[in-house]
């Protein structure tokens, strides 16, 4: 036990004395929260639009005013002819153009029908889609108001309610994903790298010719990273609750417990990588290509898994982060309890047992 503690102490010295790495390890979640939360958001806000309105009547002006008033749009320019529309899009100034016909209000009143054209810059299809949806919603809203209480024959009205995330905040989605990513990066990559570093420096050679059992070396290596991961989990949760206003609807204890389970899975993966990698570079590449990329792509955090072709959906099942992501999202956002997520938890637990057994069995008690 004294051996173990002494080893853990030594490991803390390594981390503490490498200030730049320490800063990266502890600062990374903060930076990522800030980047994902405020900069890299796929919510659409304050998109610049242009209006071409030859009629300038009460209805068209009212619609324009409502568009401008919404937080999604900023009226950049009033255009005077159609040629300018193309020009503005080319210059990349605007994302959406709203074009009214001449005599818009007249058409509406006399023919009971008028058209508004929405032209969107679809070089980013998702944004274009969202923008036209928002604009259509605002116009429909206006129409509903002028229709008033008049009963139209045969109308179907849709009523929408966004469950769990009524404001459609992106943060609800990425906070669980971010936790998976940070834990994976800190636990898997750093553990793999430090063990391989001992091999590279030759200190593992000395360590092997000592009463210290290899399993103990490996476990002692994992302790400080478990500690750093806990700090990271706390940072992410605090930031997401207080800075991004993401609620923890479920039990905080369950979130933390599941996070620790996932941390252990990541640590055992790191140990597994370290036993097969000979150099720090290899360890880093395996972690990045073999784990980080699949986590980003196949955990459902960036791209919805349901839309993927079957082979990718099958592969996504072996990505631990996918399960963790599902669990955390369910507990944090939907507020469900263990009875709803026991299957995912069981999968994670199975992975832990599998990877840990493999890592310990593969751990080399000799040099070659």
């Amino acid at each position: 036990m004294k051996q173990f503690l002494s080893f853990v102490k030594k490991e803390f010295f390594h981390i503490w004395r490498d200030k730049s790495t320490l800063l990266i390890l502890l600062g990374m979640p903060v930076v990522q929260i800030v980047i994902f939360g405020f900069a890299l958001t796929n919510e659409v806000k304050n998109s610049r639009i242009a209006v071409l309105d030859p009629s300038k009547d009460a209805s068209s002006l009212a619609i324009t005013a409502e568009l401008d008033a919404s937080r999604y749009f900023d009226l950049e320019k009033n255009l005077v002819n159609f040629a300018q529309v193309e020009e503005e899009f080319r210059r990349g100034k605007i994302k959406l153009a709203v074009i009214f016909p001449a005599h818009f209000a007249d058409d509406l009143q006399h023919f009971n029908k008028a058209t508004v054209q929405l032209i969107a810059d679809a070089s980013d299809p998702n944004v274009a889609n969202t923008l036209t949806n928002y604009a259509t919603a605002i116009i429909t809203d206006y129409q509903a108001r002028i229709t008033g209480n008049k009963q139209l024959p045969y109308t179907i009205q849709t009523e929408m309610r966004m469950l769990y995330n009524p404001q459609m905040k992106g943060a609800f989605n990425f906070v669980p994903g971010l936790m998976a990513m940070v834990l994976l990066l800190v636990c898997t990559m750093m553990t793999a790298i430090t063990i391989v570093k001992e091999k590279e420096m030759g200190t593992m050679e000395v360590m092997l010719v000592s009463p210290m059992r290899p399993q103990m070396v490996v476990l002692a290596k994992a302790v400080p990273y478990l500690f750093i991961s806990s700090i990271n989990i706390a940072t992410i949760l605090l930031l997401s609750v207080y800075a991004l206003e993401v609620p923890i609807n479920g039990s905080l204890f369950l979130v933390v417990a599941e996070s620790i389970l996932f941390t252990l899975v990541s640590l055992s993966l790191g140990l597994l990588i370290s036993s097969s990698a000979g150099t720090q570079q290899t360890a880093m590449f395996i972690s990045l290509i073999g784990l980080f990329m699949p986590t980003l792509m196949l955990s459902g955090f960036m791209f919805p898994i349901e839309n993927m072709p079957l082979p990718l959906r099958v592969i996504s099942n072996i990505v631990p982060a996918k399960w963790y992501y599902l669990v955390v999202r369910s507990v944090m956002i939907k507020g469900v309890g263990l009875q709803e997520i026991w299957k995912e938890t069981l999968v994670l637990f199975g992975m832990l047992v599998f990877f840990l057994t493999l890592a310990i069995r593969k751990f080399k008690i000799r040099l070659a």
Binding site: Q3, S6, M201, G202, T203, V206, V209, S210, P211, L367
Partner: protein, 305 residues
């Protein structure tokens, strides 16, 4: 009981066993002996040390350390031997004191317990005990590594090329330290590529291309050198070397420092060289005693023949 026995050990590397690192090596080391393993780079010294410290498995053959089998009882061996690898293997970001403390605890002991053993060595680096190990000079690093390998009072100490890359003064000091340790009853196996260090060992094993050329005391090895040997010098050394190679009394000739060492065929005498018809300017001939390097070269050529 022997401290170390090595019995017909064969070790190869590569898929097709293409690289033979150790080829049927056998020897034994007595308890309390200072045993040198001497050979050039790539001779198989490190492989041999790693086999004995249970870090590698041999293809065939067996070995024991302190009576324990290196394969079966590897845990017991790891508890009782000290090992200092050829490359500096301490933590550069830990201080001298922290390194020593760390190694003491993982061997379930403390600096205080075995301080007597390392005192003579440790006092030399004690003034720098707060300094990071990575910032020590080469000789200091070696001393610290030796302290760390000794801190648990090992029964057998393995030192893999401890003096490689260390200056002449530090090398001399290092060997003095080894003598001191030997007096404390620790069996020491030390490998070195420097032939001049052979004389400092009780017994040496000469190794080349994975084969043992000879195992004996240094004096017995040099005494076994039967042919007369001369140090020869002239103005034009290369020309002299080429001419000597053609001479009928020459068994072998090779450059050796500022001289050529000339090994005469059996029955030839130094006078034969004096009377040698030649056009050398300032030819100087001096009979010498063979040293380990001469023996090594002779044994090496013998084994190739």
């Amino acid at each position: 009981m022997k401290a170390v026995t090595v019995d017909h050990i064969v070790k190869t590397y590569g898929k097709k066993k293409a690289v033979v690192a150790l080829n049927d090596v056998s020897f034994s080391v007595e308890p309390g002996e200072l045993f040198g393993i001497i050979g050039p780079d790539g001779a198989g010294k490190t492989s041999l040390f790693r086999l004995l410290t249970t870090l590698l498995l041999a293809d065939s053959g067996s070995a024991t350390v302190d009576g324990f089998d290196v394969v079966k009882d590897y845990k017991a061996i790891r508890n009782r031997v000290g090992y200092m690898p050829g490359r500096f293997s301490l933590y550069p970001d830990l201080s001298v004191e922290e390194n020593l403390n760390f190694f003491a605890t993982i061997f379930n002991t403390s600096i205080e317990k075995n301080y007597e053993l390392i005192r003579e060595i440790y006092v030399q680096i004690e003034p720098f005990r707060k300094r990071k190990a990575g910032k020590l000079s080469g000789g200091m690093k070696q001393k610290l590594a030796l302290c760390c390998a000794l801190i648990h009072r090992p029964s057998v100490l393995f030192l893999d090329e401890p003096t490689t890359g260390v200056d002449a003064v530090s090398r001399k000091e290092f060997w003095e330290m080894l003598k001191g340790l030997k007096e404390q009853g620790i069996t020491i196996l030390v490998s070195t590529p420097y032939m001049d260090e052979a004389g400092l060992c009780d017994r040496v094993a000469l190794i080349q291309n994975g084969r043992l050329l000879s195992v004996d005391t240094p004096s017995a090895i040099t005494a076994g050198f039967a042919n007369p040997i001369l140090a020869v010098k002239a103005n034009r050394m290369l020309y002299l070397l080429n001419r000597l190679k053609e001479a009928d009394f020459t068994q072998d000739v090779y450059p050796f420092g500022e001289y050529h060492h000339l090994v005469l065929k059996k029955g030839k005498r130094p006078e034969d060289v004096q009377h040698w018809q030649n056009d050398q300017e300032h030819l100087m001939i001096e009979p010498i005693k063979p040293d380990i390097e001469d023996c090594f070269i002779a044994l090496m050529k013998e084994s190739h023949a």
